[in-house]
């Protein structure tokens, strides 16, 4: 359990830095989605299934969708 937590903590930290370092928002969406899933797995490993359930839907579906739709909007406006 400790090993799993350690792996997931490292993954979350790495994906967080990766999301910031990815300057193109269209690519950042994918890193943010992966971060959201890693966070959900970490929350489950930290014995927080209630939080993991919130995070998995928000991180894997809703937040990436909002970013993609916002990007689609600004690209259409010729940005």
């Amino acid at each position: 359990m400790t090993a799993l937590r350690a792996i997931l903590l490292v993954a979350v930290a790495g994906l967080g830095v990766g999301a910031v370092a990815t300057r193109d928002p269209a690519r950042q969406v994918f890193v943010l989605g992966a971060l959201g899933l890693a966070l959900a797995a970490l929350f489950r490993a930290l014995e927080a299934p209630d939080v993991a359930l919130s995070q998995i839907v928000v991180g894997a579906a809703i937040t990436p969708a909002l970013f993609v739709l916002a990007l689609a909007k600004v690209r259409r406006r010729g940005g």
Binding site: A13, G16, V17, A19, Q28, L32, T63
Partner: protein
């Protein structure tokens, strides 16, 4: 384990805020803010952890003292959901800013400057 958990919290917060202050794109900024925000969830759950503790859901006849802290979990679970809607609000602001200034680069938004 302690250093790793709190180290992850600090890395997420600092990386996210560094992204916010140096970004050239408002949508990227919202993504960086989401990274900084996720540090609070990791911190809350790490603080509430007990070695050998189980998820605070009673199944059958468990020794209830072996639960991890349910209070921080209640805080984190609502904040994850509220955070998603706040992200939507910030993205809507970015869309409006783009409509007005025709750019997402905060440097080019002259009238926003103080």
């Amino acid at each position: 384990m302690t250093a790793l958990a709190y180290g992850t919290v600090a890395v997420l917060l600092v990386a996210g805020l560094l992204g916010v202050v140096t970004t050239r794109n408002l949508i990227h900024l919202v993504g960086c803010l989401a990274v900084a925000q996720s540090s609070t969830y990791v911190l809350l759950l790490a603080v509430g952890l007990r070695s050998g503790g189980r998820a605070p859901v009673a199944t059958g006849a468990p020794p209830p003292t072996a639960f991890v802290d349910p209070v921080v979990q209640a805080l984190a679970l609502t904040d994850v959901v509220v955070g998603a809607v706040v992200t939507a609000l910030l993205l809507a602001l970015a869309i409006q800013a783009h409509k007005r200034f025709r750019t997402l680069d905060p440097r080019d938004m002259r009238s926003l400057r103080g």
